[in-house]
Each structure stands twice: as structure tokens, then as C-alpha cells.
Symmetry: C2
Subunit: 417 residues, 2 copies
Amino acid sequence: MTSAARTPHLRRSNLALVLDQLRRRGSCSRSQLVAATGLTRSAIAGLVSELETIGLVVETPPAPDGRPGRPSPVVRVDDQCVIALSIEIFVDEIGAAFVALDGSIVASVRAARPRARVAVAETVTDVAGLVDRLEAQLADLEGRRVGHHVIGCGVSIPGLVRDADGVVVAAPNLGWIDVSLAESLSSVLGCGVPVHVGNDADLGALAESRFGAGVGSDHMIFVSGEVGVGGGLVAAGRPVVGHLGFAGEIGHLPVNPDGRRCRCGSIGCWETEVGETALLERAGLDPEGGRAAVDELLDRAAAGDRRATDALAAEARWLAIGIAGLVNVLDPDTVVLGGLFARILPAVRARLDAELDDRRYRAARRDVAVVGAALGSQAVTVGAAELAFGPLLDDPAGVVTLRPSTVSLRSRPARSS
Amino acid sequence: MTSAARTPHLRRSNLALVLDQLRRRGSCSRSQLVAATGLTRSAIAGLVSELETIGLVVETPPAPDGRPGRPSPVVRVDDQCVIALSIEIFVDEIGAAFVALDGSIVASVRAARPRARVAVAETVTDVAGLVDRLEAQLADLEGRRVGHHVIGCGVSIPGLVRDADGVVVAAPNLGWIDVSLAESLSSVLGCGVPVHVGNDADLGALAESRFGAGVGSDHMIFVSGEVGVGGGLVAAGRPVVGHLGFAGEIGHLPVNPDGRRCRCGSIGCWETEVGETALLERAGLDPEGGRAAVDELLDRAAAGDRRATDALAAEARWLAIGIAGLVNVLDPDTVVLGGLFARILPAVRARLDAELDDRRYRAARRDVAVVGAALGSQAVTVGAAELAFGPLLDDPAGVVTLRPSTVSLRSRPARSS
């Protein structure tokens, strides 16, 4: 390939560059794009026009600002045209949503489910039913505005997802081993769009990094408290994936080598000491009590209940121990706490800061921001959509072949109801 | 910048691509370069010719292979022309070497030094003297072959080096804080080439990744046993640097939260349990005894001395605990053990493997190679040179302005001896 033959790639990477800038900034003028990208005014004009034709951005005339001269039109990401289907699979709940290219949620549905339905076949059936409801919801919206085009599907899983082929190698809490979920879902949904599968904490990290508490941080650690502990890492602005795609299993840092056996097979992993199960057990509450039990714990602590405050203090101490280690290994500028850890943060802030101060590498004299997630429970929803948008963001002109403006992902039998 | 205006950058990045391929493969034919890079035959011819003009590669006629047709010339990295000055600063020793672009060491000198001379001023003076000796050694070699061109200097430090400006923020074992070492060295050496400073374990990781046990691995962790524990990380083929440049401080993973206070200020860091000090203490030997004491320990263990074998078993156990955690967080394909850990590896292999097996995340069913460093004590020497070669490797045409073929880095007063 000669230099000349590679020039079309340059145009495509410039399209990606402009789209990325618009997503980071919300909306901006062409002049601001010129300043941000170093491309010429005429190059920007051509690229914006191409992105508009594809249906990824819209350009609107500026409001008159009273100053002499012609004000620059405002360009922004189109939140109407291209959308992704985001599917979330948890142990006790499933969710589906349509998310626009600007990260906004267009429509969403969730459903609780009994433990008896966590097997793969039941999960796939239930997800298909949920997507039916989601499409109906979108069809109602469509009545009121322009058609959306679904360009991909991202699925979040509480487990290890192999990067090479998207196989769910293991999801211990679901009892899944070696599941080709993308294939099963594609076939049941009958959809013509690619299905991508990712680990829930990795997806939460991606979303927080692009739209949440990690915006502006190139070196971020996302530490999410769930039943156990999940994590996602960003280094030099990119997700750290690892050899097989399993990076970020921070819940399995060995923090207490003489501690309890972990469900992973090792001993004294971080998640044997922090996370919902560990916290509720220490407080003498039902370790399977979920969110309601955590709320109960926070209420008791606020009322001065000693066992509750002790449990939170222990959680803060072990949380600091793991965070201090991760900071030493990865040197982030920002640590974003998600899930349970974001919920309890106000209650443990003082103790957490004191423990972190006691366990920091003093010589480094660094200032790491430890903050709560900004997107809350929507982080994983948005992250799964980001996974689906991935190929489009890498090559805006190469991916979008606009589907006919119909809502349905598949041919369904007519409903009798 | 339009697409057309960016084309020269393409040529430069293609030069870097070809040079990188040649460094990975040693020597190869133009046809192999065509296959490896996807560039056309004529593009490769032009790029190889340009690299040859700059003095980075040489092309030699092939040996006749008896087959019909004209055999392809062999291209290889020039190990004669461009070299880097590599400087290593340890607590009890300093070293200087000239390293060629293919990673081979052209000349090297080392000197022990008393603890009284670890201050910055004394260190800089002693390094300057050592570089004098190194240049004299090279001058002797020059008599026998073509002139070398020093294009940069890389310095290895046992401490935290800030990425943005190369300042040694802290080197606890040297007692250094906020030292602008590159500036001091540049001024004393009077050299016109850029001076780059890096952390010793990061540089060892870089060298092992490019020329040693990590070749072929895109996700590597380098775990080096010294007085304490140093580390260097490679993810997706690139060094993990972190926000400030401090990533890889794996010696300060908290593995034993109720353990001993660490010199970093925290409690129960990994290096309070493994590394030379911890190992020798457990064996009842002088913890400051250095390499000789480790040899003594290995001899005693080989002879069946119980305290020595127990100390090695404890070292293997704690080593496995930390490695297991790092594997879960970073998902490498290869863990390279350097320094002390490489030396004791044969003696602890069985116990290390058993402990790793007991502490692995079973669901991941992954196969991580845990191997000894291939470059031994030369890893840091070569790594410091790689740091110096960095700008050249990124942009071969942009950096090399060949200096006159003189050996001396600076004007020196004539020596009386």
C-alpha cells in the first residue's frame, strides 16, 4: 500500500476525529472544530457535511448574537437518527434500552426475574420478550418524531467475556460457562445488526470515562461495588483489555491471604472483604438482602447503630486498602466508585479519606480524585451502547449503511393481544 | 491540515514501521518486509534506501542459494552506526554503556561505590568519570572499525520519575527528592544529545519486552526482585505509564494489611514480604548482605538447611500471592521474573507453581507463562538505551542529524595520565 493509496483512510480517520470531538463537547461551531482538530476550515466543512449525510450530526443556524458578521452554524451529534440497542443481564434483573449517539437514553424497559430463569435459554427468551416491549415503546415515540436506525447491539454480562470472540467464558453468579451469547441473541432477535458482549464493570467504566465522572481523565480506575467487586481500567485514554479480555478483575486482588476462601477459588480476595455480601454480613443483615438491606443499613448507621457504623468503617478500611494498591500499580488521576460504593460514599467519606491517607505511597505526593460515579445505574446501559457504537466511532463512513426506517429489529408474528 | 498535507507523516510512520519490523526480526529480505507490512515492493525499496542513507540499516547481497532467479538482498539493523549512551544508577553501583540499535552492547563499564557517594552531586561527578572511561574504551574499538554516532542518553534510576519532565520525584534508597537529573547530567557531560530518565524496573520491562523473555507478548508484567520489588507493565504492546509516570509500583500492593510498616508509609506492602531484605531476614542472614548472601542462602537450601528452605518456601508463597493478584487485574499472557526472582526461580519453581495454582481465578481457565528474565542484569542497560532510542524509533527521519564521526560526547581537558 503506497502513501497515496492510504489517503482514503486519512479521510475516514478525520471523520472519526471530528465525531469524537463533537461527542466530547456536545455541540460546537465549525471554527471550534478547526481549532480543536488542526484541520483546515474547508476540510472541516467537507467532513461535517459527510457526517450529516450519513446521519450522525446535524447543523443548525446559530441564534443571531447581535455582533457584526455572519455567526458560525452550530454542529451537534444527532440524537434522533442512529441508536444502539443496549441489553443488560444481571442475576435478578434484565434490562433493554435504545441509546442515542450522544449517550442519551431514548427508551428503556427493565424486568425483575426469579433465580429459576438465569439459565441461558430462559435468559435469551426473556430478553427477546423485553426487546419486544422496548420496540413497542419506541414505535409509540416514532409516531411523534423521525425514524431511528438501530446500528448495533451491546450486551452487558456479570462475567468474563473473551475479547477474541465475545464468548462468555464464565459468569459464576449466573452459572454460565462458555456461552456464545451473541450468536444465540442474534438468532432469537433475528436482527441484522452485530451483537457485541462485554463485562458489566468494563462497560460501566467506558461510560463513566466518556460521559460521567471520568470525563477529562486519561487514567481512570472504575471500582464498582456489587454483590462482589467489579472494575474497569482506562490507561492513556483507552480501556485496558488484557490478553484474553479479562483485565479489571480487581475484586480478586489478594488483600488478606489468611482470610476467607473466595468463590473464584483463591483465598482472601478483595471481594471477600468488601461489596454487598461482606458489608451486610458484618452488619448482621441478610447478605442476600440486596438494595433494600443496604438502605436499612444506612438508616441504622444514621441513627447511630453501632454494628451498622462498625460495618461501614470496616468497609471503608478494606476499600482504602484495595484502592491504595491499585493506585500504586496503575497511577490513575481519578478513581470512580460505582454501584454500592457510590451509594455508601457519603457515609464512609471521612473514614475512607483517612485510611487512604494512611496507606498512600508518600514519596509520590500525588493527588488522586476519588469520586462517586456520575451516571449511577445508567452507566452500564450507556456502556453497552458504547460497545455497539464502537465500530461506527472508529470508522463513521465504513459502518453505517442506513437501514430502512422501520423500528422492528426482526420479523415477529403478529401479536394477538 | 488537509489529507494531502499529512502525507509526509505517512512516509515517516512507514519508516518507523519498517525499522520496527527489522528490529523484531533481526534481518530479513525485502520480500519479507513486503509481506509483513502490507506496503508495496517499490514503497519498501524506497523506505529501506532512506533508512540506509540515514545510517539505521544496512543491506547486504544474499548468499547464492543455487535456485534460479535473483535472490533478494538481506536487510538488517545497523549495529555499527547509531548508538545510545546508557547510564545506570544503583545504590551501590553505577554503570555506563554504549548500546547499538539492535540492542547489542558495544562497550560497558561499571563501578562499585560507597554509600557516602549516593548524593546527587557525587553521583553526577562519578557518572561523568565513568563516561570518560567508556569513551576511552570506545575510542580503542573505533581504531578497528567505523565511527559510531551517539544519538541520545538514557538513565535508569531506582525511583519515581515524573513522565512530564523527567524529574526524579523520589528515589527513597538514594535519599533523592525532586532531582532534575537530566539537566545536571547534560550540563556535566556537556553533551549535545537529549538525556532521558526512567525507572529501572520500567526500563527492564521495556528491554525484556523487546529483546528478552517478553518478545511476542503484548500483555506482559515484569516483576523484578531487588532490595524491594519493582515492576513494569506492558498492555496492548505499549508500556503502561500512568498519569504521572509512576505506574508499575507493584511492590506497594497491600498483601498483608496487618503486616509490617513499609518504607513507603503504608502497611503490609508486597515488598515487606518478598525481595532481598525479606528473604534474607527470614533465613537469618544479613538483610544487607546483597548478592553474596543470596548465594549463601541458595547453597544452604541445596544442602537441605531447614531455615533456608523455609525462607524460600515463604518467598514462593508471597510471590505467588502478588502475582495472582496482578494477573487478575491486568490479564497478561506472560509474567517475567527479573533480578532476585530470576535467580531463585529454579529453587522455588515447584512451590511457586503450586501456590499459583491454588490462588488462580479458576473460571478464567487461562494459561499464563511465568518465566525468568532472558537478559539478566543487562535488561536495565538495554532498557535505558531503548529510552534514548525512543524518539528515533517513533520518527526515524525526524531525529537523526548525524553528528560528526567523533567519539567524545563533550570537550574534556586533556588527561595527564
